[in-house]
């Protein structure tokens, strides 16, 4: 029972009067918010007092505001709901900025409530004052400064509306302390719906454009479907699968789009881009018609723009018109939500007399199979050392491919993307756009809260994990037993890889010296620590860890420190210009050294 219900009972037919802090909390409840991730401080004390007096909305106390944003963000990625964060003014707000930018780059719906100093002292350099509206402006979809307590409920509604519709994104609501003053009560009503004359996101695509797109698709000789995170955000995985199967075309996913199409399906040819598969990148390069769905032609996907898909006509479906023809000129743009557009396309394909050319498609698949036979993801399986790829493969087997995998940023992120075959959307939780180290652990906590019964693993490295390691404490407090798969290669692996390739192996500050004893560290936080140094022990260690359903386990796995992520398109090169791993068994320069 929340305090509000109590008040309503006593209201005797009159409208309920609440103070700003209560309005804020009640608005969250009325919005259906289950969890808020936050950290208290001076400017939000009134709000925390209101939180204390109810138990409808559960507050998760993190150990650093960055952790709150990542946990809320991952909760949103895994569930499709909007993540909610509450931080105080000044440093609380600035600590949240990295997480807000992370959500912004990946279009994740999130509402961040930041406390602000009282309105009369705004602009006076008051204690713990920062211009949060100004600081967050370039990395939010929108932000609000609440100036009037009677507008608070409506502003919260608008924040959720803007965050979760169209191309989703984070919205900041900056709330000065006087707005939540417990002594000032005003009538409360949470609007059921809100409209904004300046905000009308596109829904259905243009019929004529869709028709043209279908005609072009059906006439393709070497087609390619390239889909991204928009399919997951737009809940259109089912439609994507139906369309792809109906056409029989090859499909590649971006890093953000993994899981939207089942990775174990034969039409899936892997991720594309910088560390994409040989077949996906070559397929893009040689393709004559590309259907881009909810993808934004990111530079890590396209490589050198001048050499991007030279033979292809491109169809692009995106809810955000600004994403269309931003970096790559497209031939048939379709602005609209992915789901209704794909649905229309499927209908039209079914009705169309024209069918894809069987002959052309057979030849195209033969070509793709030739590229596949390169086996670009093979690695040295005979190595006595623990290869990071091997760890992910074992993780995949032990979790039966059905875990939620969060990751940090670097080599381990790419290995997870390449070797954990995601068959379902919302299972792969990573910071793709901003590339935020420290994301993985708080993200895993956010996912575990949403799905307490599911296996949640954070694939990380010894560098990334230390950026938000304090959240191990949060994991204990809220009993979110996640498994931390620490691929410990004693290097910032991706930095080292670039230094090896582009800076003649001058490993400038990419070496992780004086690492903590992660086993002891995990134990100090009240968790289970495991050190895995031998390849032979890995499988049983993983099984043991995942069998401990109610414990967070930190697996410190000592991997081959010289391993690199392949294939790789080095920056400034095109899709057809990939660096492939030297055939297994051939000694590389590094191994000889």
């Amino acid at each position: 029972m929340g305090f509000i219900d109590h008040l309503i009972v006593n209201a005797e037919g009159n409208s309920v009067e609440l103070n700003g802090a209560q309005i804020l909390v009640q608005s969250l409840k009325d919005e259906g918010v289950e969890y808020i991730f936050g950290y208290p401080g001076g400017a939000v004390l009134h709000i925390y007092d209101a939180i204390f007096q109810q138990d409808d909305v559960k507050h998760i106390l993190v150990r650093h505001e960055q952790g709150a944003t990542h946990a809320a963000d991952a909760y949103a990625r895994a569930t499709g709901k909007t993540g909610v964060v509450l931080v105080t003014s000044g440093p609380g707000a600035t600590n949240a900025v990295t997480g807000i930018a992370t959500a912004y780059m990946d279009s994740i719906p999130m509402v961040v409530i930041s406390g602000q100093v009282p309105s009369p002292v705004i602009g006076s350099d008051a204690f713990q004052e920062v211009d949060m509206v100004g600081i967050s402006r370039p990395c939010v979809k929108h932000n609000f400064l609440v100036k009037d307590v009677t507008k608070l409920a409506e502003t919260i509604k608008k924040a959720f509306y803007v965050a979760s519709t169209g191309r989703p994104g984070p919205v900041v609501v900056d709330v000065p302390k006087d707005i939540t003053d417990p002594t000032i009560k005003v009538p409360y009503k949470y609007p059921r719906k809100v409209t904004m004359r300046s905000y009308n996101p596109a829904v259905e695509g243009h019929k004529g454009q869709i028709k043209k797109a279908v005609e072009l698709l059906l006439s393709a000789q070497r087609p390619m479907i390239y889909s991204g995170g928009g399919v997951i955000l737009g809940e259109a995985s089912r439609e994507l699968i139906e369309l792809t199967r109906a056409l029989g075309y090859p499909i590649t996913n971006t890093l953000m789009g993994l899981g939207a199409y089942p990775a174990t399906d034969k039409q899936f040819i892997g991720m594309l881009g910088m560390h994409g598969t040989y077949e996906a990148n070559m397929g893009m390069h040689e393709s004559d018609v590309i259907l881009a769905v909810g993808a934004r032609f990111d530079d890590r996907v396209t490589g050198k723009l001048a050499e991007f898909c030279p033979y292809a006509k491109i169809i692009h479906i995106d809810v955000d018109p600004a994403s269309i023809s931003k970096t790559v000129k497209v031939d048939i743009p379709i602005v609209g939500q992915v789901k209704p557009v794909l649905t229309q396309m499927i209908e039209q394909i079914k009705e169309s007399k024209k069918q894809p050319s069987k002959k052309a498609l057979t030849a195209w698949w033969e070509q793709i199979d030739k590229w596949r036979s390169v086996q670009c993801l093979e690695y040295d399986r005979e190595s006595p050392l623990i290869k990071p790829q091997y760890v992910i493969e074992q993780l995949y087997e032990v979790t039966k491919g059905d875990a939620y995998i969060t990751s940090d940023v670097g080599q381990h992120q790419m290995y997870a993307a390449q070797y954990y075959h995601f068959d379902k959307p919302r299972r792969w939780i990573n910071s793709g756009g901003l590339g935020t180290m420290g994301f993985g652990l708080p993200a895993a906590i956010g996912v575990k809260l949403a799905f307490p019964e599911a296996d949640v693993a954070c694939v990380t490295g010894e560098a990334s994990i230390q950026m938000c390691i304090q959240e191990l404490s949060t994991a204990l407090q809220y009993k979110t037993p996640v498994k931390i798969i620490n691929l410990n290669n004693r290097y910032m692996g991706m930095v080292r890889q670039w230094q090896e390739f582009s800076y003649e192996s001058r490993y400038s500050h990419s070496y992780m010296d004086t690492l903590p004893d992660f086993v002891k560290l995990a134990e100090a936080y009240g968790h289970v620590g495991m050190l895995v140094e031998n390849k032979a022990d890995l499988r049983s260690a993983l099984e043991e860890a995942f069998a401990m359903k109610d414990r967070t386990v930190f697996m410190d796995i000592i991997t081959d420190r010289t391993e690199n992520v392949y294939p790789m398109i080095e920056s400034g090169k095109g899709h057809h210009d990939m660096k492939l791993r030297v055939a297994p068994g051939t000694p590389t320069d590094r191994e000889l050294a």
């Binding site: 509206v133 100004g134 402006r137 370039p138 979809k141 929108h142 932000n143 400064l145 803007v162 904004m196 004359r197 300046s198 905000y199 955000d320 018109p321 600004a322 269309i324 023809s325 931003k326 000129k329």
Partner: protein, 163 residues
């Protein structure tokens, strides 16, 4: 190419910084920017002059439209329109030069709105080109200061930017 983009934007604190911030963050260039409330005090009208090829202008208009506070916008360069800019120029004068400056100002349909023994203030409206031409036409060394509003504009005929 030069484009004049007219924007109807919510008259809210911070709306201007959203537009200015967008331009600096994405590396677009602003030649001039004017803003004032409209007949509806909840709306401001902004006129922004920028330069860029078609691709850049397309991105600019898309990105502006994406700002939640932007209600509507139009690229005036796409159709027949009228452009005006207000300029005030303070010039040094002497017995010998007064007549000449007055004559040139008349030719450009400028008005002298302040006179002291040593100075004139000339008020002039017109297209930005015309104002440039006036500056060129008078003796450069006589100019004390120039203040320009930046261009504003409106569509000709039925077409327009309104809710």
């Amino acid at each position: 190419m030069r484009h004049i983009i007219s924007i109807l934007i919510e008259n809210e604190a911070g709306a201007l910084s959203r537009v200015a911030g967008l331009f600096s963050a994405r590396g677009y260039n602003i030649e001039s920017l004017t803003v004032a409330p409209t007949e509806d005090p909840s709306l401001s009208r902004m006129t922004l002059v920028t330069r860029g090829n078609d691709d850049i202008i397309e991105q600019i208009t898309k990105q502006l439209n994406k700002l939640v506070d932007v209600v509507k916008l139009i690229d005036l360069a796409e159709s027949a329109h009228i452009e005006r800019e207000l300029m005030m120029v303070k010039v040094k004068t002497s017995e010998a030069t007064r007549g000449e400056i007055k004559r040139i100002a008349d030719i450009f349909r400028g008005r002298i709105i302040d006179v002291t023994p040593m100075t004139f203030v000339i008020e002039m409206t017109g297209t930005s080109d015309k104002l440039d031409a006036f500056i060129k036409a008078i003796d450069e060394t006589s100019i004390i200061e120039v203040v320009r509003s930046g261009a504003t504009g409106i569509c000709r005929g039925e077409k327009g930017l309104h809710l």
